[in-house]
């Protein structure tokens, strides 16, 4: 089965084989959405292996790289048809922090899982999150940051979302290497994650599609 081989190759991070199989499946006129369904299956396996301690950040970086190449091959053949979206997620790095590595990995994994991700980029003030919530009406908002100084910015952002009357409309997750349960309490977020795979699992739960 092409599908099973593909899921195995992708979850084992066999870059050359994944690309070869993707091209083969496209050539044989297979529906690109069944390939995307396999991408989702493989992404789930990758996330699980990470949480079990079998995969590490290096493996997630490699996975993100392969996913990007697969999507680049699939995009032209998908045309204007859209898959079933699991919902919208707004993510961004909070004000004062310009790191984006966590943000990129989370975005790649969420997209592979079928979410529509609005990535605001780095150093985003509270107002940018508020405007994005009004415009995109996301289920979940992800506040990212690597610096310990980002903790205070996350708190300010959650407070601003509350002051704008939007707190009940969204679930908020804070994420980053120095984030913890303590940070979740302090900032008033609903969830926290200090790695990308756990972050994606919690975002799925928050979006009630887990």
């Amino acid at each position: 089965m092409a599908g099973e081989d593909f899921v195995k190759a992708l979850s084992d991070l066999d870059e050359a084989k994944v690309i070869e199989l993707t091209e083969k499946r496209i050539k044989s006129k297979e529906d690109p959405f069944s390939i995307i369904e396999d991408v989702r299956k493989a992404t789930e396996i990758i996330g699980r292996r990470f949480e079990e301690g079998r995969y590490f950040v290096s493996d997630l970086i490699m996975a993100g790289e392969i996913l990007k190449q697969v999507m680049d091959i699939l995009r032209p053949v998908m045309g204007k048809r859209k898959g079933v979206s699991k919902g919208k997620v707004v993510v961004g790095t909070v004000e004062g922090d310009v790191h984006d590595i966590g943000l990129s990995i989370v975005t790649a994994l969420l997209e592979a899982e079928g979410f529509e991700v609005v990535n605001l980029g780095v150093d985003q003030p509270p107002q940018a999150f508020i405007e994005a919530i009004r415009k995109h009406n996301p289920k979940v908002v992800g506040l990212s940051g690597l610096l310990t100084e980002a903790i205070e910015s996350m708190k300010k952002t959650v407070e601003a979302i509350k002051a704008a009357g939007l707190r009940d409309k969204v679930k908020i997750i804070v994420g980053g290497g120095r984030v913890s349960g303590e940070v979740k309490e302090y900032t008033g977020a609903d969830e926290w994650a200090d790695d990308a795979a756990v972050g994606v699992r919690k975002i799925k739960a928050l979006a009630e599609v887990a």
């Binding site: 590490f56 290096s58 790191h99 590595i101």
Partner: protein, 415 residues
């Protein structure tokens, strides 16, 4: 000088693998002293007088055992590039400070009042300045390659070697290194007179981190390990002796200085970055053998590696047993110190401490509870506390929480 002697004995005892009278506190920050004294990050990073004044105020108001202000971002590339021909520049330029950034316009870092807001924390972002095809050239002659090829790409002001801009930038950089050194030495002098010991620190690096941090960028170096393993291996091999050399040169302390400081210890600083990223297979193949070699050579020089195990080091803990016993001081950022003890026993001299999230968002009572438990669980056999164990004291750490930490150590940290 009684206080100086007392603190020094405490620090030396623990870092030589013994139990002192009580657990010592080694505090370090980039900007927290400024926030405490009412200054912005811009103020203390660009105005040395303000930084000195704020650091001395902290020294008077808090009872740490060692207190260090690290005013710069990761800049080991400057140290490595200059160490052979101009060690008087390479050694003090180990950390890339804001004024060096102004002089050279490096593409790696972002600073308050320049690219960032006045009170933002400076940040190292990095950039890919070396292509995959250039690994061979790097391996052939690392120092030559860094000077001829990398510095012009890393620094906008050094893009055109021999041009008026280039010469002016290098001259200005030299001047700023001298200014920074004078500040640093005057700060050390001030701290010594307040009873804070100065234990010399040498500079080294994990060879693979050097490629990830300064040449290929973290993401690319990870992909290179999957796609071009032989090229990477050849380069880390060639870089290994360079980081023994940086340690030997930066850690040379004349006997009269050792006598004046009252210590024969020389620590050697290693911040580890890719350790958390790599799976054990990659770690054992590309990272650890070369870092271990540097550790061994540095120990032979009589230095004590002082290692920041950034992120989660859990998966690699058993490799610590490959090292000579009680010769390496390890600060564990996100690895539970109990787990370090369980796996590595007293092989490595353990440093732990409260995370910044607790010092920012917690209360003095919560801090006391945390410290009590930590000390009860792992102080046996020797322990040192590094406040804000994730990167040193954060700008937003609350002074009352830091005070509560010191008090808790005095209460529960005695032997």
């Amino acid at each position: 000088m009684q206080l100086y002697k007392e603190r020094l004995e405490r620090l030396e005892a623990v870092m030589k693998g013994k139990e002192p009278d009580r657990v010592p506190i080694y505090a370090a920050t980039a900007v927290w002293h400024g926030a405490y004294a009412g200054y912005t990050t811009r103020d203390v990073l660009f105005n040395y007088e303000k930084s000195r004044e704020a650091a001395l105020k902290v020294a008077r108001d808090f009872d740490f055992d060692a207190w260090a202000v690290i005013a710069g971002l990761e800049g080991m590339i400057l140290c490595a590039a200059f160490i052979e021909k101009a060690p008087e520049i390479g050694v003090p330029a180990r950390f890339l400070v804001g004024r060096f950034h102004e002089a050279l316009k490096d593409v790696f870092t972002r600073w308050p009042g320049i690219e960032l807001a006045e009170n933002a924390h400076p940040q190292f972002i990095g950039k890919e300045v070396m292509s995959v095809e250039e690994y061979g050239q790097l391996a052939e002659n690392p120092v030559d390659f860094l000077n001829k090829v990398i510095l012009p790409r890393m620094c906008e002001k050094l893009q055109n070697p021999g041009s008026p801009e280039y010469n002016a930038a290098l001259a200005r950089f030299g001047l700023e290194v001298e200014r920074y050194s004078s500040f640093f030495n005057s700060l050390i002098g001030g701290l010594i007179s307040l009873g804070y010991p100065a234990i010399p620190m040498a500079w080294s690096y994990a060879p693979l981190d050097f490629i990830g941090d300064f040449l290929r960028d973290v993401r690319n170096v990870v992909l290179d390990l999957y796609r071009h393993p032989d090229k990477v291996k050849q380069a880390v091999k060639a870089l290994t002796p360079l980081f023994v050399k940086t340690a030997a040169v930066s850690g040379f302390v004349p006997p009269e200085v050792k006598r004046a400081l009252g210590t024969d210890m020389v620590l050697c600083f290693f911040p580890l970055h890719l350790n958390e990223y790599l799976n054990p297979k990659l770690y054992k193949e590309f990272y650890w053998p070369y870092l271990k070699k540097v550790f061994e050579e540095v120990i032979k020089l009589g230095q004590t590696p002082f290692v920041l195990f950034e992120g989660k080091h859990d998966a690699h803990l058993e490799t610590l047993l490959d090292l000579p016993k009680k010769k390496v001081v390890g600060v564990f950022e996100k690895t539970d110190p109990r787990k370090v003890k369980e796996v590595a026993g007293d092989h490595v001299i353990l440093v732990s401490g409260p995370p910044n999230a607790l010092l920012i968002g917690g209360t003095p009572q919560k801090v006391e509870e945390f410290m009590k438990k930590l000390l009860e669980d792992v102080k046996e056999g020797g322990l040192m506390i590094w406040p804000g164990v994730d990167g040193g004291l954060s700008r937003d750490a609350k002074p009352e929480n830091v005070k509560a930490m010191v008090e808790a150590i005095k209460k529960y940290g005695k032997y």
